[in-house]
Amino acid sequence: MKARRYSSWLMWLVLLVIAVLSFFWSGTLTTANTFNSGFFGAVAASTEIPADMSTAENTELTLTPAPKPTRADYPDVGVSSRSIVWVVAQLHLFFGALVLAVPLFVLVIELLGVYTKDSRYDDMAHEFMKISITAYSITALFGGTLALALFLLYPDLMAYLMRVFGAQMMVYAILFFLESIVLYIYYYGWNAMRYGNAKWVHLSLGLLLNAVGATLMVTANSWATFMMAPSGVNEVGAVIGDIWEVMKGPLWNPINLHRFIANIAFGGAVVGAYAAYKCLAARTAEARAHYDWMGYTSNFIAILAFLPLPFAGYWLMAEIYAYSQQMGITAMGGILAWLFIIQAVLIGTILLAGNYYLWSGMSRTEGSKRYQRFIKYIAVVLVICFLIWVTPHTLILTSGEIAALGGSNHPLLGALGIMPAKNIAVNLMLIFTFMSFQIYRRSDKVATVSWETAGNALMVAIYIVAIVNIIFVGVYYGYFTNTVYKVGSSVIQVVSTLTVIISGVVLDAFLYRKAKTLPSHWGQVSNRAQYALFALPIAFTWLMALMGYVRSSVRTHWHVYTVMKDTSPDNFIPTIGYAGNMMTIVTVLFVLFVLFIFWIANLSGTKQVPPYATHKAPAAERVESTA
């Protein structure tokens, strides 16, 4: 443990030193520009290269534009620089997402333990943190490596970003020290602050940990969103605003929300895989029951966070279109559009795996027989919607195939390739996934309220109205009106889906108040269901890699969109196959590191039997812990 802590501190120290050195390398620390353009605001001033801009003619200030590196300015290390940064950055982001997400739901579970006075919640939250704390060290290692790679391979870009963000990057590094301090106290002080007032101190530390983590995330997000939609700079990239104007670009908040929610879903899926692994490897019924419950909780977190994610994604895409229609179309209708077919496959995998896990989990309780007849219908709807989602619109065909087909769109299936059909499919998949979730939650309960029949009728009515509305709005506005209404109709569909989810949760909360609880048998679940929990993080990881790639690639041949061109040898958008191979490489590497974390987490709970006792129990040299 100590070694891990030291390595983490060491890496952040390296990061800080690099940041400081880079500050000097950027050549602006000696000018007033640095701090003015950086953290402390005001208009940037410099005595360096004057910008070629008309607005500067009327002012005494001369502004420093973004650099214009030539191909020769990019170091050649014999391997594609983009591929190096791609792998390291993606691994850093995977682990970063994990370590930021886990404390979020750990805090909620810990709080739940306080309110229910059930120590199992507390133990589970502590075990989740055990995974997170190992991942934190690996995040730090990849973070330091990423910083080194970027400064080495893209020196002009990093010098420019250092100039634009200035002291904010120093604040970021300092926040990591704070994050490390709070994280270690929170984790290692868990048992020391377990009861009474000390527990509230511990919970407050958890809150502080999440606050610092969220600040770190939104700070780093501002770098990515600045590169996509620069703000606080003029058209040649010279800084003309303060750091707040630089940070609060049009895409900053949509990315913040999207990553916040996605991180929770991702974190839930990863710890779910941990629980599934432990459940399958459990040697006692008690351990299997514990990890079955832990897996269920993780899946609950992952799917619950996943359900609103498409809406956050929708907001992000709408803001991208509002910022630059060209950028939006490049993503959704241009060269990157085919990637959304893979996205459909991935999200379909996630929803099918999540649903399958819920259906399998219904075998834990006898009361589930009342609802099992619905499963086959839900499955049919999910599969049909999935197939609609993956139907491409325009096919790349030979002239003979086009002639045989009568055009590049299939006369019947072509209509399923456009967004209105996909919007219907996605919303129905979300509604029916919620239905699976709802009947699962109802399986071990029998309502005792007098208005049960009326309540159920109301719920059914809400489902029917929402489904009819989603289909009608999608078909009518999607196929019989122009594009403006198409976009508007998707908002109505989203509202319908959210209405079902929110009303379902609220209605069930009242309907099953003081309900009779039927016995549940944790651990009595098929092993196949545990593999569904493995499918979730694999699909989530691949999906994160995919969407991160799309987000980054919409800049096309720009490091910083419209102000700093990418003239490196890698300034083209690679083929989907190449990108897919890269995503699999980073996913497999992530899985290997996660398995290492699981092993470490398991090792920390393993106690060797004293040598003098071995002759008494030769077959059990190690004692398994469930905590």
Binding site: A285, H290, A322, S324, V345, V484, T562, T587, L595
Partner: protein
């Protein structure tokens, strides 16, 4: 919650191995999907220089079309998907004139050309109904200024796009050709193809070689007899008549020759400068200027030392085709023809040149009477030679 009992249970084999195989299999499945989809690379625009002085109106319009669908990214929105007015389906000159009459129009344009230019560098001046930014009530255009990043078209490129929009519906192109402009930097990969024929020509020999006049006409001391000889054409036609016979060859047919043989698209292909060089030369050609066959000086500076080189020189093959290291671009290069055509196909392409046309080249350009002009021995010699041309 019932947590069950503490008795030992059987685990399901090697969990680590199974979970790894399952995870890897799933990841590979996603990789398979990615590799099954169309594989297209998105190249960054390459900056290149083209000599604007060599542009013809045809290649200028082609440049505009290439920019429209390529670096200009116009077709990303201006298509039939309803994102923006479908320029390819609309008559943009008529549309421009309609918008100029609209009371909502507040710009300074006075005609279609200036309106189209203004609409590209200041798209917000007039927002087409129902295509404004969402919530702006058609007061804000979602279109970016195309002279600014990330598109950054130059004035010449914008003019090329206007020329394309005018030409595609049969309107007169009012945008002037930038013939006297200095060499400018133009970003266009797509334009490379359209400008590949724009070789700088300054002399009558180069004009004659570029347009393969001697393939049909005797002039400059050599050439074919498919068309009338032009050695002393100035004696019978004045400059205006010569100009007309080039840009509208079937208007007047010389006795003894058939209409429809001479290509009718020289007016589009030739630059004004080239046309004037040719007309001036022919109008002045009242006497024979050259005694030796000029074709040999045009086709190759090397002495025609072998029989095949003599045949190539005699029939002016290099006026249109690249072979023996040099030649024109009016027809396909023959330097690797032996690698993809057999002897019969090569023979057929000489005696029946319009039967099979190489992609990217127009039909009707190569004279169809070589079989009458060449002896069998010359034809065999040429075919045998071309068979050896495999680019080695």
């Amino acid at each position: 919650m019932n947590t069950g009992k503490t008795e030992e249970i059987k685990t399901s084999g090697n969990v680590l191995l199974k979970s790894m195989v399952f995870s890897l299999g799933l990841a590979l499945l996603f990789t398979l999907v990615a590799n099954l989809l169309p594989q297209v690379e998105g190249e960054a625009p390459v900056e290149q220089e083209i000599d604007l002085g060599t542009l013809t109106m045809e290649s200028f319009v082609a440049l505009g079309e290439a920019i429209f669908t390529g670096n200009g990214t116009c077709s990303l929105c201006h298509n039939d998907l309803g994102r923006a007015p479908d320029i390819l389906a609309l008559n943009m000159v008529d549309i421009a004139n309609e918008h100029l009459e609209d009371e909502r129009y507040k710009g300074n344009a006075t005609d279609a050309e200036s309106y189209l230019y203004e609409s590209m560098i200041d798209p917000g001046i007039y927002v087409v109904k129902d295509f404004g930014k969402k919530g702006s009530n058609d007061t804000i255009s979602p279109m970016p200024r195309i002279d600014k990043p990330p598109i950054e078209l130059s004035v010449i490129e914008i003019n090329a796009v206007i020329a394309y929009m005018q030409a595609k519906d049969g309107h007169d192109v009012t945008v002037p050709l930038p013939v006297d402009a200095p060499v400018e930097e133009v970003q266009s990969v797509e334009a490379e193809k359209s400008s590949m024929n724009t070789i700088s020509v300054n002399t009558i020999e180069e004009v004659v070689a570029k347009y393969a006049c001697q393939a049909c006409h005797t002039m400059l001391g050599g050439g074919g007899d498919l068309g009338p000889e032009l050695e002393q054409v100035g004696k019978r036609l004045n400059a205006e008549e010569i100009r007309q016979s080039i840009i509208d060859p079937d208007a007047e047919i010389t006795e003894g020759f058939s209409p429809g043989v001479m290509p009718r698209d020289f007016a589009e292909k030739m630059m004004v400068k080239e046309l004037e060089i040719l007309v001036t030369f022919l109008a002045d050609s009242k006497v024979i200027h050259h005694e030796k066959p000029v074709a040999s000086s045009l086709i190759n500076t090397k002495k025609a030392s072998s029989e095949v080189e003599k045949v190539i020189a005699q029939f002016g093959c290099q006026a249109c085709h690249k072979m023996l290291g040099s030649g024109g671009v009016l027809g396909p290069s023959l330097e690797r023809v032996g690698a993809y055509l057999d002897a019969d196909e090569i023979r057929q392409s000489i005696i029946e040149p319009n039967r099979v046309i190489t992609n990217g080249f127009p039909s009707g350009v190569m004279p169809p009477n070589f079989s009458e002009q060449m002896s069998d021995a010359q034809l065999d010699l040429l075919v045998t030679f071309l068979m050896t041309q495999k680019g080695d």
